[in-house]
Subunit: 319 residues, 2 copies
């Protein structure tokens, strides 16, 4: 693996043709935005380019492409975007292209270095790297490309809220808006649209919230029964664990999610200075300071919950 | 009233002293961010400056100032920020300073021109004007000023989601982040924190949602009983009317809010091309294309609801 800079990457893209751009599995706005933006840019240089993803692309991203843009080509020059590990190419795609990725464009410092050439920058989104790359390629950022790149940046930063945002992230956003990015509609689709089932699940979950430690700790429970009643499943639960921490005065929010086998996935979210890793570590789990997790068994649920609450109480008392 | 440019405003601010900066009533992030940023900038020029607001400043903005910054001064040079109409200065402040505002800095094109000098730009937030003004004043934007201005811009744009955002809004955000604005904590406080009562109210409201027109119309009802049960009141309902439209597939979301007198406030929110003004206009109300409202009487609630749903059906069928 050779780590390369933007200029070298531009040379490679100009010298080759017949590109196949791979995204990671469970595709999100950044991997898709990177792939389609790069596809349009390469085509505007007269190259042929298609995108491949092992999973069905969620409907909300359909404005980025047309069905013809997805597919296979013979003896392609293979590029992976926003894919930190070859295995994340997912079923089918991983098997076919393992060891065959020539160029990887990424922003994860954890990138495994599986590609022949790696263009890596530690920044909020792979789309930030794609933006610079397209600029140096000499391709004008049109509305279509701007929509793709804006999507990647907006989704990977929670619409400019996360700590990964830098001044340069906003400079790029300014460039994309001048280029005509339809940011109002994109943000509506990404952040303001949820299934009816999700709303019902959220409502049921909120009604289970128990407050502890004078309002500094909130515990929310999601049971299999609630998932069934709302017509949702585990995959709809993304982000739901952030609810308890949003309650005014709460420093640590706990979400218990019952799995089909009766065990519980436990997610902690905190505000400073509460350290979730420390708390979850004592329960056999782990994670980051502001977000961590552990597990509760089926048999000892109440006992383990009491243990967790005792550790949380000790931590809150020590502040 | 004389409309002035940034340079003239800078001359005025350099020539005077003993500033009193007034915000509008029910203060939000933009009027407070503008006021405190300007206060700090004027003080760094050696001037004296205080801020006055007729209402109690919500706790979530407390990082912007210390209690000493609020108050009265004798024979002040009076500035109003983000105040489109003198009456919006509110009880007490309006009575005292009516006809006495020397300089108004605003971004509402509807500004009534009540001040001697008006510095006005049609942009997302008054804080955008304040940012430029402070730059031309020659004051360095430090972390404190950056926090204030970022708050105004972020709150008035729904964290860069609203249609009022321009490329320049992001250019300013980039400048504020380089200056050290604590955007992660600010956005957490502004967008990610709600009272427990609000969550309970939202949960109760979501459970009332009825779907019509094959899922294109959603109707949500909030009763006085639900407000009481959740310990909330009308003032907690800001933004709740946006929920029905967020449901996947919904083109028009209707929220019915029971008032204490038994009448109903009806709020419509739509996605293009559904025109809420047209629909509400036929019910005796009004508003904008994507957000409008009308009223239902206490006696004819069901009849009026049926009328509204018939109009919505006609509009949805005509798309």
């Amino acid at each position: 693996m050779t780590q390369i800079d933007l200029k070298t990457a531009v040379g490679i893209l100009k010298d080759n043709d017949n590109y196949l751009i791979l995204t990671h599995k469970n595709p999100d706005g950044d991997t898709l935005g990177s792939a389609f933006a790069l596809m349009y840019a390469l085509r505007s240089l007269g190259k042929s380019a298609k995108v491949q993803c092992c999973d069905k692309i969620p409907k909300k991203y359909s404005y980025m492409y047309s069905p013809d843009d997805i597919g296979e080509t013979d003896s392609p020059y293979v590029i992976a975007v926003d894919v930190a590990d070859e295995k994340l190419l997912g079923n089918g795609v991983y098997d076919r292209y393992q060891g065959k990725v020539k160029l990887c464009i990424d922003h994860h410092i954890s990138n495994k270095g599986y590609a022949e050439y790696l263009l890596l920058r530690d920044c909020a989104a792979a789309c930030e790297v794609i933006y610079d790359l397209i600029g140096i390629l000499g391709v004008k950022i049109d509305k279509k490309i701007a929509d793709c790149i804006y999507t990647g940046i907006s989704t990977d930063t929670g619409c400019f809220k996360f700590a990964n945002v830098t001044d340069y992230t906003h400079i790029i956003a300014a460039g994309l808006i001048s280029a005509g990015a339809d940011f109002v509609e994109i943000n509506k689709a990404m952040f303001e649209t949820k299934s009816r089932g999700y709303f019902l699940l959220e409502a049921a979950a909120v009604n289970t919230i128990e407050m502890y430690n004078g309002g500094k700790c909130a515990v929310m429970t999601i049971t299999q029964k609630m998932l069934h009643a709302s017509g949702t499943d585990e995959s709809d639960c993304d982000g739901i664990a952030s609810i308890p921490r949003k309650i005014e005065g709460v420093l640590v929010g706990v979400t218990l999610r019952e799995r089909t086998d009766g065990t519980y996935k436990v997610s902690l979210r905190s505000h400073a200075p509460v350290d979730c890793t420390k708390i979850c570590g004592e329960m056999g789990g782990g994670g980051h300071a502001r977000a961590a997790g552990c597990e509760f068994s089926r048999e000892n649920l109440e006992k383990e919950k009491a243990q967790l609450l005792a550790i949380i109480t000790r931590e809150l008392d020590s502040i």
